[in-house]
């Protein structure tokens, strides 16, 4: 490796030197936690900010002193991510242990109360579990549909053919639509009176077709829209895999008189398997996060509220901020489980391969 960092020993933990980042980090954390607990939000935030700046400075000095270029290069990114992602995450976690309502200032430490409330019987509990099940159902269907469609599209575009460039962009466009627009328009297409779907169905069956009325219909509608929008993403990933297979493997297979099906399983599939799993992971997580689309398509009323919609409702409209936080952590937990499962499977595959 071409690292030119000097191997100076790290300063002992307690020495108050400018580049003792360990000490700075420790001090910063301690002060931050105290500040959050004791002070009102505005002041504690400033304190935390100051601490973060202190830690960052210590890091920077340390890095520069040891020609730790890696550290310097990485620092801005880590800083931004920390502030924008990690810190809110920690705060949110902390928040979920309190009962803190967003318009008054009183805080009560309630421990796991919120989680218990969320997971068992709350006023909205039936809605919670319903939402969870809806989300699960929705995720399974839309991801499956996306993967299949994306995969098929990738097979189509794998070869070089005339006009490929122009046709590819057509297929990529759904990804570029604003969620607002596609949501609204699909609700238009699904609209019983004016929508084209009901018109066609009307011609065929003679009755008005109201997709959004039934639960199945509504889910189908959302699944279809979401899959349509994101299959191109899966397609890109799979296409990358398809294109990366060395051409001579197919030539050897042709000479070996290997059937097309077998060629696919033994040559192509191993190359795209990793990408398919990646697409699976990404899309599953995105599907869980789905809020925008539902907000627009459903506008409340039906019982197909997904978790995301529910949470924001809880937080914004019912002023039960911390419960909302707790609920989100339940989701996060599920996401982490999924991610680890994926990584475990992927690693096991790699080792076995």
């Amino acid at each position: 490796m071409t690292t030119t960092a000097q191997f100076l020993p790290a300063p002992p933990l307690l020495s108050p030197v400018a580049h003792n980042w360990k000490l700075a980090l420790l001090a910063g954390l301690v002060v931050s936690v105290i500040a959050i607990v004791l002070f009102p939000a505005r002041l504690s935030l400033s304190v935390v900010g100051a601490m973060a700046a202190l830690v960052a400075a210590a890091f920077a000095v340390n890095a520069y002193r040891r020609r730790y270029y890696g550290g310097l290069l990485v620092a801005p990114a880590i800083a931004v991510l920390f502030v924008m992602n990690i810190f809110p995450l920690l705060w949110s976690l902390g928040l979920s242990f309190f009962a803190y309502q967003s318009n008054n200032q009183s805080i009560r430490f309630v421990g796991l109360n919120n989680y218990i409330k969320v997971l068992t019987n709350d006023i909205a509990a039936p809605a919670n579990w319903d939402a969870l099940i809806n989300t699960g159902m929705f995720v399974v269907f839309t991801v499956a549909l996306q993967m299949i469609t994306g995969f098929l599209l990738a097979m189509l575009f794998a070869k070089q053919f005339p006009l490929r460039k122009y046709l590819l962009i057509l297929v990529l466009t759904p990804m570029m639509l604003s969620v607002v627009a596609s949501g609204v328009f699909f609700s238009y297409y699904y609209d019983p009176t004016f929508g084209i779907l009901s018109y066609v169905m009307g011609e065929i069956t003679g009755n008005q077709f109201i997709l959004m009325d039934s639960k199945v219909g509504a889910v189908a509608g959302i699944v279809f829209t979401d899959a349509w929008m994101w299959a191109p993403f899966v397609m890109l990933l799979v296409l990358a895999g398809l294109v990366s297979v060395p051409k001579y493997l197919y030539e050897a297979a042709a000479i070996d008189r290997v059937s097309k099906a077998r060629q696919f399983w033994t040559i192509t599939f191993p190359y795209i398997r990793g990408l398919l799993m990646l697409a699976l992971l990404f899309r599953t997580i995105e599907a869980f996060k789905l809020y925008d689309l539902v907000y627009i398509l459903i506008r409340g009323g039906q019982d197909t509220k997904t978790i995301a919609y529910l949470i924001t409702e809880i937080a914004n409209e019912q002023n039960k901020t911390s419960e909302g936080a707790a609920l989100s952590y339940v989701i996060l937990f599920m996401v982490i489980v999924l991610t680890n499962l994926y990584l475990y499977l992927a690693n096991r595959r790699n080792q076995g391969a």
Binding site: E251, D256, R257
Partner: protein
Amino acid sequence: MSTIEVKKITKKYGEFLAVKDASLSVKAGEVVCLLGPSGCGKTTTLRMIAGLERATEGDVIIAGKRMNELPPQKRDIAMVFQFYALYPALNVGQNIAMPLHFEKLSKEETDRRVNKVAKILHLTEVLDRMPGQVSEGEKQRIAVARAIVRDPNCFLFDEPLSRLDVELRHSMRGQIKEVLSNLSKATVIVTHDQLEALTMADRIAIMRDGMIEQVGTPHEVFAKPANVFVASFIGTPQMNLMEADLKSFGKGVASVTLAGNAVEMAADPAVSTLRPSKVMIGIRPRAFTAESSAGKSTIPAQAELIEPMGAETLIHARTKLGGDIRVVVPRTQRIKIGEVLHLKPDPKQTHFFGENGRAVRA
């Protein structure tokens, strides 16, 4: 009937002619090498025989049947690729067994054949490993094993030894030759290494710029090169090719002005057909004897650089006019730098090439 024949095949990529009017026939059991520098069209020709490229013109005939339109699957050929093309997701045994799926054999039969081939090529121990876990030489043998596990019309090898180190090449050359001779199928090997071609081929086809310059046995192309290109390509150290003026020819002796000297050298009777003109004279470094004094048929040259090569010594000498002559002498003959050598060419190994570069020979 395992034969290959290509008749005047041409391959054009747009305006670019990769192969032009190449004709070649390979008998059953014969090994023919396509030899030539990079870009000469040898791999393209091989791929046309394999069916991986479509010939723009001409005929590709395998086992007596014209195969131009047939895809590789239908030609029943076996090919060993330069990069081995082993299926990365299958283990060695499965790789070797892959071509047999088409024949729908029973599992026992497949295993039997795979094991037989593995034994021949010393691969029995690695049958369970993945291609990524075996050495370069083993990869090569696996590729060969995959080819010989079947009973195809013919074998095609694309630079099979180019990725091996010198020692491995040496041993693989022998192994491949042995395997091929046992199987008696028409085989075409593409290579840019003349040593490979000379040792493994029954006949060599030398190609340049898309055209076959000469087809002949290793001995033929070495001793009777058809033109200047072949003469300079075959043989290490490279043959000395010198410009000369042919003055006259009589009684088997040609009078030429070579490197500023009037020299008389014995030459092939066909030289009599040449008018007095500029010719190229080719003499291999080992075809000289260093005489002690100047004579009618010696060429004077001053030794400039001496390279000991073990049993022999390579001497770079410079003629009066500044031309380069390479001479190889046995190491017992001590030559000093600056010494003037009087080089006498062996008449049986002197080649005359006319103005068009073609050899003048009976």
